[in-house]
């Protein structure tokens, strides 16, 4: 069976809720492309996630009022993390295993084996926004800044 057509599905779904104007999904004809500057075994790899994970035991966990990019230490055991994400297929699966959407343990294992040089010291959390302009002009710019600050050579981005 072929993959789910989410753009069609959501258009029909929100129309059924009374929203007639279909959402205009981002689309570009040109796609940027940058090659790795050095072997992956020498690269520092950053991770970006939309999973809205927070530290289970930190009372100062970020709240989502401002919906700003935030970062957490990449060496934190995943058992200390939990996702607050609401938009996933809650009928078919769970977000109980952090490594299934934020593969920090797997990347640490691969770094130990030398497959990647190292994991960047922080991973970055970005909120999903209706406003494409906010994502590009505010959030993406901030993530780029943080990746550069951490000396990342490549970035893995995971969509929940």
């Amino acid at each position: 069976m072929s993959h789910v057509r989410y753009m069609d599905k959501t258009r029909e779904y929100y129309r059924s809720l009374g929203y007639e104007t279909p959402y205009r999904w981002a689309h570009f004809d040109e796609i940027p492309f940058t090659r790795l500057a050095k072997p992956l075994s020498e690269c520092r790899v950053a991770v970006v996630t939309t999973s809205e994970v927070v530290l289970r035991d930190a009372p100062g966990s970020p709240d989502d009022l401002a919906r700003e990019v935030y970062s957490l230490p990449a060496d934190v055991p995943v058992e200390r993390l939990a996702s607050r994400k609401e938009s996933y297929d809650r009928y078919a699966t769970t977000l109980d295993d952090v490594d299934s959407y934020l593969p920090l343990t797997r990347l640490r294992e691969l770094a130990t084996k030398g497959r990647v040089g190292s994991l960047a010291p922080r991973f970055h959390v970005v909120y999903s926004e209706y406003s494409q302009r906010k994502t590009v002009e505010v959030d993406a710019a901030e993530i780029l800044r943080r990746c550069r600050e951490d000396g990342a050579d490549a970035t893995l981005l995971v969509a929940v």
Partner: protein, 124 residues
């Protein structure tokens, strides 16, 4: 929206000299946006890096992404992870249906408020 958000961020990083790879489960949204490298898992939204509590599969999927980082020679390259969620594919038919509202009532209300406030802010 997550997949579009990640698509927009990955494009920005890549355009500024940082190689990227995206992991996701909504192939149409990511490919419509256009990203340099994409590992697609044909799974329900939530676990693009492998099934929960299956570390061997998770490791294999992450490695597919790392291979892609090294080997892709052109933008817009998608690799399909060779795993099936379940022989029963009925979950695909049920996504975004009245029988299975994607968000619960409170989350839907929050989402619609954000959507309306964006539309208000975008009006000339």
């Amino acid at each position: 929206m997550c997949h579009q958000t990640v698509g927009l961020v990955t494009r920005h990083l890549e355009a500024n000299g940082l190689p990227t790879v995206v992991f996701g489960c909504a192939r149409d949204i990511v490919e419509h946006c256009g990203v340099p490298r994409f590992v697609f898992s044909d799974f329900p939204l939530g676990n693009p890096c492998g099934k929960p509590f299956e570390p061997a599969m998770q490791r294999a999927i992450v490695e597919i992404g790392l291979d892609l980082l090294e080997r892709a020679v052109a933008p817009g390259t998608t690799v399909v992870a060779p795993y099936e969620w379940d022989p029963d594919t009925s979950w695909k038919d049920k996504v975004f249906t009245a029988a299975q509202p994607f968000l619960d009532e409170a989350a839907t209300a929050r989402w619609l408020r954000r959507k309306e406030s964006h539309r208000e802010a975008s009006r000339p």
